[in-house]
Symmetry: C2
């Protein structure tokens, strides 16, 4: 018997309520029935993004929305600044380069957050900068970048701030309008607790003004056309209908829990995971700027990276490993989306036992005990006597 | 957010493979298609019961099969011996009494196993005894009764041994033919990992001879008529079609894991749970005859029985409480069916944190650490370097 536990930073587990919503018979998308669902999803996404702007729904992965953000706000030759502190930062550079933009990369040591001063310096050197492109949470290194501080640099000048919030929206408080984010992006298979297949993005008023003058070619990801359609509660191209129904159900779950509780839960699960790692004597990948979405942990000396495959294929517990320079050196335990205290307990138990299986001396229960001390904060009050 | 963890001794969690099989469109039961599925389920049940006899499938709960066992093998006024060591033993007495049988009850202290000598004595006093009625695993007290020893007393005399194996078949090795059990019963919502709604029972050759002369009234549970139909791979009355499809999928999972591994897993999970309880300084309800299906644990002084409702309604973890004389005094943590090491870890974490919430001093992780040391036996070998 091999029960499956999905503790990777996307896809994340899908709640039964969402699975059942998606298992409903398919309805046609050019109907009042679908438009009614779509309108409710749009309203929910505005609450989730904390914005008054339209949140557009794209049938694509998050990368599609990243491309849409770049192509709809630039013209060939425009200058952009990329915060590159990992695989997803690197992706901004690849997209910008593919469309003939001039890129200044701010390389950030993996596991570190970008220094707002470095962004300020680059903006001074390149006052013509059209976009600053960054991640809120850099999933490859489990580091959190200081979006709020960077937004303070961009919101009073012509430069637009484009934030990949794919593992941040619905995980931590990232109020788009209040912070002055110009483009905010997320994907379905993260905190939204859906299968992959949808991306969501919203543009500020000044970002839409930039769209009007942007000459970079686009067709499928033409956001002007998308917005025209979506303001009528339909889409330019065929929508992923069942995923939209699933989004409807997922947003209901999120708002039933309440956003503030969702953020507090993610923060608590992340602290518990970090406490467990430290109690086991393990080193964190991003100790000073740890994301509440995913915890990166260095494997101890002598434990090979294939422990990740062993856990997935033999034990049933899916973590992520490391990429590029971190390949074979770390595990990433995700705790975003439909994840609770007992998922963290399962993750730590799996880690403790797998480390022991790979010959490490492990004080069984030490990690979990440290986690439980944190998770107690989330235990509901006991009924009065 | 309240994720649900079902760790009660029935119903037990249903694997996704079984849920999907049951979600198939319904087929008609008077068709070759259904008969083909039914025939494969029958063959699988024979392997599960370890018998060459027909295993009959009833659309009822386990209690229906208990009644069928009594009514089909007796005539009014017949004498039966009931091993009553809990709520399910008591049920044998109620059924036998309802049909006008003469009952000798062997009362067993809750949490204890019956002494085979007590059965031998009762048989000597009542050589005319038609049936010995007992549980293999008495779910209300989490005690295991010595079926093999009792079978040695009955198999060489006229008396038939009827065993309620509802929380035993598929949990522990209970080979019907080899032990000489005359009627063996189980239900769908236990080790078979199905929803409630089906019961299964098999009769030995000599039990079928008794059926021919049994005058106790029955109609829905007329096993002679059932057997005639089921030997043609159909049922006397309308079968619970989707549950039969689910049984087909569940048996495939059981045999893919292999019966010996299924039994070893249940034994390991039970030992881990007991080790955890003891490491936490908690007392077991059935320390000397603990069932591998469910572990009963006394609540410490000062912790009220409503901790069970708190865990279920506020924390999402469903254990069973105590019944009758044990009401409010114990929790029963089930580990039968679709349950693995991480379910036990979840159960113990929930118990540790709930006890702390109710004001107990708990060494967080102590119980889980003890459990992990046992659960390590089930960890697969690591790949060669």
């Amino acid at each position: 018997m091999l029960k499956k536990y999905l503790l990777a930073p996307g896809p994340t587990p899908v709640p039964p309520e969402v699975l059942l919503a998606m298992a409903q018979p398919i309805i046609h998308h050019r109907t009042p029935q679908f438009e009614a669902v779509f309108a409710e999803v749009q309203a929910g996404l505005q609450r989730l993004f904390q914005t008054r702007e339209d949140v557009l729904i794209l049938a694509s992965s998050g990368t599609g929305a990243m491309e849409a953000a770049v192509t709809n706000t630039t013209s060939p030759g425009d200058h952009v600044i990329v915060v590159n502190g990992g695989k997803f930062g690197e992706r901004w550079t690849k997209i910008a380069t593919a469309y003939g933009l001039a890129v200044t990369e701010l390389k950030v040591e993996w596991g570190r957050a970008v220094e707002p001063d470095a962004v300020a310096r680059a903006l001074r050197e390149h006052p013509e900068t059209r976009l600053v492109l960054m991640q809120a949470s850099e999933t490859s290194t489990t580091a959190l970048h200081p979006v709020e501080a960077v937004a303070r640099l961009t919101r009073d000048r012509e430069t637009l701030l484009v934030v990949d919030g794919i593992t941040a929206v619905g995980v931590l408080d990232l109020p788009m309008d209040a912070l002055g984010i110009d483009v905010l992006i997320t994907g379905s298979q993260k905190a939204l607790m859906l299968p992959p297949g949808l991306a969501f993005l919203a543009l500020s008023e000044r970002a839409w003004r930039a769209v009007a003058n942007a000459k970079t070619p686009r067709f499928y990801f033409d956001l002007t056309r998308e917005r025209e359609n979506q303001q009528k509660h339909t889409t330019a191209w065929t929508p992923a209908i069942s995923l939209v129904s699933g989004t409807h159900a997922a947003l209901q779950l999120i708002f039933a829990e309440e956003l503030a509780n969702v953020f507090a839960r993610h923060a608590r699960l992340a602290r518990a995971t970090r406490a467990a790692a430290q109690a086991l004597g393990l080193r964190l990948v991003a100790p000073e700027c740890a994301s509440p979405a995913t915890t990166g942990i260095y494997l101890p000396d002598g434990v090979p990276g294939k422990i990740v495959g062993y856990l997935r294929d033999r034990v049933g517990v899916t973590f992520a490993g490391g990429q590029d320079q971190l390949k074979g050196k770390i595990v990433r335990i995700a705790h975003l989306g439909y994840i609770d205290a007992f998922d963290v307990v399962t993750a730590i138990a799996a880690l403790e036992m797998a480390l022991a299986a790979f010959g490490q001396r492990v004080a069984f229960g030490a990690g979990i005990g440290a986690a439980e001390a944190v998770l107690m904060e989330g235990m509901p009050p006991v009924p009065a006597a």
